[in-house]
């Protein structure tokens, strides 16, 4: 009798474990992820971009371990080197490996970041002396608009702040990329974006700077993670591209545009499609494609020529 009770208890426990998604081994495949490994703010590839099937127990770290030679520290939670390129301090500057999933910097370590399939993982080795935190980047386009981030798909709220025709262009581009774009709420008006929607601000910098997330750019890359700044007003406005050290490196004149991403606290990422003037905004709107944004933290444009930021 006692044996039978024990057997029933074990069977119930096993059934409960099976129902809770338990099992032996790494589990079933849940989809494919892309892996990009670069150095120096995406300037040089370290590994050829690849796609990898992931299973239900996979994390960012496990995928990286499968596809590259890595060394870890602090109990396997911190990537020390990828393919021999090691975290280091040189000439008083600190170099480390950082990762983005769907263009958003993670708040947890790679070993604790679960994957659900469809994510774009980007590891970059960079000098972080000027900005330790770069909360969002544009280089995983069309992510995070396609799959969202943190394992949840998000809607996209395009906020037209004097962007004019560029707003429509941005909406069209996002819709074609497969994003769930929220309905337009009126010209030159802030849309009633859903809670947790990814915002895309479109308009000249003089308008965008009133937004608290966008205004972080004026506090430097250590606050916004964007290596760009704006100087002057009106016809004399200039876009300044900053170098890796956070200092002005290149000045862009009239017609200059910027595509960048930032994030304020835990709010969803905010993309900025802006420029020193209307022509700049339209030029920036034209950059929203894989060819122009791939593996870049932010991009400036002037006269049809794109410059990755930070300026190297």
């Amino acid at each position: 009798m006692r044996c039978r009770s024990m057997a029933v208890a074990i069977a119930l426990f096993a059934a409960a474990l099976a129902t809770a998604g338990c099992g032996l081994g790494p589990g079933e495949d849940v989809g494919e992820v892309s892996l990009t490994v670069t150095r120096d703010y995406g300037a040089e590839p370290v590994l050829a971009p690849l796609a990898d099937e992931v299973s239900e127990s996979d994390t960012v770290m496990r995928v990286l371990e499968r596809d590259a030679e890595i060394a870890t520290r602090y109990g396997g939670g911190f990537v020390q080197s990828i393919d021999g390129l090691e975290a280091d301090e040189r000439f008083g500057r600190s170099f480390d490996w950082f990762f983005y999933v769907d263009g958003v910097e993670s708040t947890v370590g790679a070993a604790d970041y679960p994957l659900h399939g469809g994510e774009a993982i980007w590891w970059d080795y960079r000098d972080w002396s000027a900005a330790m935190r770069v909360p969002a980047v544009v280089g995983s386009w069309p992510e995070p608009f396609l799959h969202g981030y943190d394992g949840r798909r998000r809607s996209v709220a395009v906020e037209c702040l004097g962007g004019g025709a560029a707003c429509g262009a941005v909406r069209g581009t996002l819709a074609r990329a497969g994003a769930d774009v929220e309905p337009e709420s009126g010209v030159d008006a802030v849309s009633n974006s859903a809670q947790g929607a990814i915002r895309v601000l479109v308009g000249p910098w003089a308008q965008l700077r009133r937004d608290s997330a966008a205004a972080q750019i004026e506090n430097g890359p250590q606050a916004s993670g964007v290596f760009a700044d704006f100087e002057g007003n009106g016809a004399g406005a200039r876009l300044v591209g900053l170098g890796v050290d956070g200092k002005p490196a290149l000045t862009f004149g009239p017609g200059a545009g910027l595509v960048a991403a930032t994030r304020r606290y835990d709010a969803p990422p905010t993309w900025l499609v802006t420029g020193v003037d209307q022509a700049g905004v339209e030029a920036a709107a034209g950059l929203l494609d894989r060819a122009d944004l791939r593996d870049r933290y932010a991009v400036a444009t002037e006269g049809g020529e794109e410059t990755p930021l930070p300026v190297r």
Binding site: L17, A20, G21, C22, G23, L24, G25, P26, G27, S55, E56, S57, T59, M61, R62, E65, R66, I70, A71, T72, G75, G76, G77, A111, D112, P114
Partner: protein, 302 residues
């Protein structure tokens, strides 16, 4: 019954050695256990401790330490496997658990926990040998010139804790002897009585210490050595033993070799992201040296 870890005077080299020599010798083994994660070196340290313990006649303490160490090691392995979700080789998925979140058991987390557990076992063996072979009174006496008050406190604790435990046993026996009809003796009542007795004893001890001049300045170290270290077997007049040299040498050689070997890459174990166990010639040489160091307490005429 005496605890397996209680000091038992024996005519062994480790027992005769001065506390400093014994501490350096066993401390070097413990230091190596904390310095290295390679299982081979940890096993060598455990073997050295076991060998030293058996040669010093403390086999019972070694066995008790081994069991105690295993009792500590097993939960470490289990908890590490459940809490740490790192490592590339997922063996089992246990779903979402309250507090733990998603639990995946990986081979790497088990190996990492096993190394922690092995370290706990090895350190327990070294402490077991120390406890059974090194006279605590001599250790405290050696400490007295350096930290008089701490030594006095430690002496009182090491005396009064066993006395209090014996008191508790006596009170429990007395409670049982009241007969089956008597109400059971509650823990609160027992603790109250023990506390009262301890306070009485503490006042007596304080008065005795006062009468013996413990509130005065401590005598100089040389006077202390002369007063408290009468010549005994295997010891010279100044408290040193003829065995001290070998224990200092063994401890020193083990420690220096461990540091040198570590710089040569002898600690080739990594649990994450995949288990890597590199056994270099330096690892093998160091392990052999450590096991040999376990022979230090050996005496031709026991």
């Amino acid at each position: 019954m005496r605890s397996a870890f209680a000091y038992t005077p024996r005519r062994g080299a480790l027992q005769a050695a001065s506390p400093g020599a014994a501490v350096v010798y066993l401390g070097a083994l413990v230091a190596v256990a904390f310095l290295y994660s390679t299982p081979l070196v940890l096993i060598a340290v455990g073997a050295a401790g076991t060998l030293a313990g058996y040669l010093a006649g403390a086999g019972r303490a070694v066995r008790a330490a081994l069991w105690l160490g295993l009792a500590i090691a097993l939960p470490i392995v289990v908890v590490n496997a459940l809490v740490v979700d790192r490592g590339a080789t997922v063996l089992a998925r246990l779903g979402e658990w309250p507090l733990f979140g998603q639990v995946n058991v990986t081979a790497e987390a088990i190996a990492d926990g096993a190394v922690f557990g092995l370290r706990a076992v090895v350190v327990m063996i070294a402490f077991g040998v120390y406890s059974a072979c090194v006279d605590p009174d001599r250790v405290l006496r050696a400490l007295r010139p350096i930290a008089g008050r701490s030594a006095l406190t430690a002496t009182l604790v090491s005396r009064l804790v066993p006395v209090t435990a014996a008191d508790a046993g006596r009170l429990r026996d007395a409670g049982r002897l009241r007969g089956p009809a008597a109400a059971p003796l509650g823990r609160a009542a027992l603790l109250r009585r023990l506390l009262a007795g301890s306070l009485d004893r503490a006042v007596d001890a304080a008065a005795t210490l006062e009468l013996r001049g413990y509130s005065l300045e401590p005598p100089r170290p040389r006077q202390l050595v002369e007063r408290f270290s009468p010549p005994r077997w295997g010891k010279s007049f100044n408290g040193a033993s003829r065995f001290d040299g070998r224990f200092y040498a063994a401890g020193g050689i083990v420690l220096v070799s461990a540091v040198v070997a570590k710089s040569l890459g002898a600690d080739g174990f990594d649990a994450y992201p995949t288990i890597e166990l590199g056994i270099e010639p330096a690892t093998l040489a160091l392990s052999a040296l450590i096991v040999l160091a376990g022979l230090a307490p050996w005496r031709r005429h026991a």
